[in-house]
C-alpha cells in the first residue's frame, strides 16, 4: 500500500515538474517541497494514514478539483482557476461534526439544501442523539412495539378491509399512518408509496412524535387533571405530543366511552414500567417480600369490564401490631396491610388487606377489584409518587 502511494506521488511530482504552470497552494492539493528525505516522507505518510481519518480524496485527488455528491453535477475546474471553497467540500468527519451540533429543526433545514445534505441529514446516528435527549424517558418497549407495528402495517401489500381484520379497530387506520400525505389510496388498492422517505428511520419516528401524528402508549399519573377519583393512580392511555404547548393529549379507553384529556405536562407521564397490558392481571412476584414501610403499586379496577389502573400505596402494620419496629412481626403473617394515605382514615379506600399466599385478584363489584402488585425499589419512582401526593387528605 505504501509503495503504491509513493509511486503515485512520484508520478505526480514528475508530471508537475514538466508543467509550465506555477505551483500555487490550494486547499485540496497535496504539495511537497523537495528536499524532504524519502525516509522521512515514508514515515510521515505511515503515521498520517494510520492516524488521520481524512477524506482520502484530499490525498489522492488529482490536481483538478471536483465537487461530489450523488445528484450534483461534477464540476471540473481547470487549474489554476481558484473557486470558492464550499461547506460541502469539507471532509466527511468534519461535516458530521457540524451536523451533530444542529437541532432537529436545523437538520431539517439542511436536508432541504441539496441532495447530499438530504442523505446525510437523515442519518440515524444524528437523530438518535435527539431521540435520547428528548424522548428516552417516554419511548420504551411498548411505544417501540407500537411504532414497529405501524411500520409493518404500512408495508402490507393490501390495506383494503383493514377495519374488518380481527383485533383492529377502525381508528387504528388513522394511527397507522402518521403522514397524511402518505396515506394509501384504498380505493384503487395501490400500495406504491409516493415517496422514498425512510419511514423506518429514527428521523421519521422523531418527527412523527413532534408533530403529534404518532399516538403511543404511555401511563398518566393523576389522570383527568388531578380528579380526586384518580389521585395517586397511573392509567394507561395513548398519548400524542403538542409541540406548540409542549404538553400531551391522552385518550383513555373505558367501556362505552372514550375520555380525552389535554395539556398534560411531561412530569405526569411515564412509559409503562412493565409489559402487563391494562386488561391483564399482573402476576405478583413480590408478595413474600412485602414488609411495613415498603412502597407498592397495585392494580385496581372498578369492575371486570374496565381496564386496571396502577395505584400507589405503602405496606402498613397489621392491627395487631403496635408499629414498633423491633417487635413487629407483620412480615411473618399471611396477611399484608396496604394503606392508601391520600384517603381519610374512615374512607373505605384507605386500607385493604391481601393474603400473601393466595393473592391474585380480590374484591367486589361494589368496592372494585385489587389485582397484581409491584414492589417499588427505585427511589426515583417512589419520589415521583410522593411528589404527586395532594397537599391535603381528600374528602
Amino acid at each position: 500500500m505504501l509503495l503504491f502511494f509513493v509511486s503515485c506521488f512520484s508520478f505526480i511530482l514528475i508530471s508537475r515538474s514538466m508543467s509550465c504552470k506555477p505551483l500555487l497552494p490550494m486547499r485540496n492539493r497535496l504539495i511537497l517541497s523537495f528536499p524532504i528525505a524519502w525516509g522521512q516522507l515514508s514515515s510521515f505518510f505511515m503515521s498520517f494514514f494510520h492516524r488521520i481519518k481524512l477524506n482520502q480524496v484530499l490525498m489522492m485527488k488529482p490536481l483538478k478539483k471536483m465537487t461530489t455528491g450523488p445528484s450534483q453535477v461534477l464540476q471540473v475546474q481547470d487549474f489554476p482557476g481558484e473557486e470558492k471553497f464550499s461547506l460541502l467540500d469539507l471532509p466527511e468527519l468534519t461535516l458530521d461534526c457540524i451536523l451533530e451540533r444542529l437541532s432537529p429543526a436545523g437538520l431539517c433545514s439542511m436536508a432541504e439544501v441539496c441532495s447530499s445534505m438530504r442523505e446525510k441529514c437523515r442519518s440515524d446516528h444524528l437523530w438518535e442523539k435527539h431521540m435520547k435527549q428528548k424522548w428516552n424517558r417516554l419511548i420504551g418497549d411498548a411505544a417501540t412495539r407500537e411504532w414497529q407495528c405501524q411500520l409493518a402495517s404500512r408495508k402490507r401489500p393490501s390495506l383494503c378491509g383493514l377495519d374488518r381484520r380481527n383485533g383492529f379497530k377502525k381508528d387504528l387506520l388513522f394511527r397507522v399512518w402518521p403522514f397524511t400525505w402518505m396515506r394509501p389510496n384504498l380505493e384503487c388498492g395501490s400500495n406504491k408509496p409516493r415517496s422514498d422517505f425512510p419511514v423506518d428511520s429514527i428521523m421519521c419516528l422523531y418527527l412523527s412524535l413532534e408533530n403529534g401524528k404518532f399516538w403511543f402508549p404511555a401511563q398518566v399519573y393523576n389522570r383527568e387533571n388531578g380528579h380526586s377519583g384518580f389521585m395517586l393512580s397511573c392509567y394507561d392511555a395513548h398519548v400524542s405530543y403538542d409541540s406548540r404547548t409542549d404538553t400531551f393529549q391522552a385518550r383513555y379507553s373505558s367501556p362505552g366511552r372514550r375520555t380525552v384529556e389535554e395539556n398534560i405536562p411531561w412530569d405526569r407521564l411515564r412509559a409503562p414500567p412493565i409489559s402487563t397490558p391494562p386488561h391483564e392481571l399482573h402476576n405478583s412476584d413480590c408478595l413474600n417480600d412485602l414488609r411495613p414501610g415498603d412502597h407498592i403499586e397495585i392494580q385496581w379496577r372498578k369492575s371486570k369490564e374496565f381496564p386496571y389502573g396502577w395505584w400507589y400505596g405503602v405496606v402498613g402494620h397489621l392491627e395487631s401490631c403496635d408499629g414498633n419496629g423491633d417487635h413487629c412481626r407483620c412480615h411473618y403473617s399471611d396477611n399484608v396491610m396496604l394503606e392508601f394515605n391520600q384517603y381519610p382514615f374512615d374512607s373505605r379506600w384507605r386500607r385493604t388487606i391481601i393474603n400473601r399466599k393466595e393473592h391474585k385478584e380480590a374484591g367486589t363489584e361494589g368496592n372494585g377489584f385489587y389485582g397484581g402488585i409491584r414492589k417499588l425499589y427505585a427511589n426515583e419512582e417512589i419520589s415521583t409518587w410522593k411528589g404527586l401526593r395532594p397537599s391535603h387528605v381528600m374528602e
Binding site: R101, C108, E112, S115
Partner: protein, 164 residues
C-alpha cells in the same frame, strides 16, 4: 520567518517545558511551537513520539497563514493559569473571521487532530446554519442545489409538517 532547527537531543523529554518544535507549512514557512502547545495536536504528538522532531515537521496541507494562527491557538490553550471565561472570550475573538478562514481552520484542525479547535470551529459553522431557511443556507455558503423541481417539492413536504 525561518530559523535553524534546534539540535536534536538524545532523549526528548516531554517534561522540559521550553522544548521547541519546528513546523513547516505548505508554502515553505517555518514556525516554532512549544512542545506543550504542539501536544494539543494528536498528529504532532505522534510525530514527536516517533522522533521526527529533530527537523521541521512538514505540514503539506496547511498554508503559512493558517499555520501561524493554529500555532497561536495551541499556544494560548497551553498557557497555564488562564481562566475559562477569558479563554472563551479569546476563542470567540479567534473565530471572528470570514467564512473561508473558518473552513481553513477546520481543515487544519482535522488534519492535525486538534479536538479543541475542531469543536470550536464546528460550533461556529453550526451557529451560521442555525435559524436559517434552506435558501438562506444556500446563499450563505454558496451551495448550488441541484434538486429537480419534483425532488424539491418532495423534500419540502417531508419537512414541512414537522415544524409548522
Amino acid at each position: 520567518m525561518s530559523s535553524s532547527p534546534p539540535p536534536s537531543s538524545a532523549a526528548a523529554s516531554p517534561s522540559c517545558p521550553k522544548k521547541m518544535i519546528a513546523l513547516r507549512s505548505s508554502d515553505g514557512e517555518t514556525f516554532e511551537i512549544e512542545e506543550a502547545a504542539a501536544l494539543q495536536s494528536k498528529t504532532l504528538e505522534n510525530m514527536i513520539d516517533e522522533d521526527c522532531a529533530g527537523t521541521p515537521i512538514p505540514l503539506p496541507n496547511v498554508t503559512g497563514k493558517i499555520l501561524a494562527k493554529v500555532v497561536e491557538f495551541c499556544s494560548k490553550h497551553a498557557e497555564p493559569g488562564v481562566d475559562d471565561e477569558s479563554l472563551r472570550a479569546w476563542d470567540a475573538e479567534f473565530v471572528n473571521v470570514e467564512q473561508a478562514t473558518v473552513f481553513d481552520y477546520i481543515l487544519a484542525a482535522n488534519f492535525l487532530e486538534i479536538p479543541t479547535l475542531l469543536n470550536l470551529t464546528c460550533n461556529v459553522v453550526a451557529d451560521m446554519i442555525r435559524g436559517k431557511t434552506p435558501d438562506e443556507i444556500r446563499k450563505f455558503f454558496n451551495i448550488k442545489s441541484i434538486f429537480s423541481p419534483e425532488e424539491e417539492e418532495e423534500v419540502r413536504r417531508e419537512n414541512h409538517w414537522a415544524f409548522e
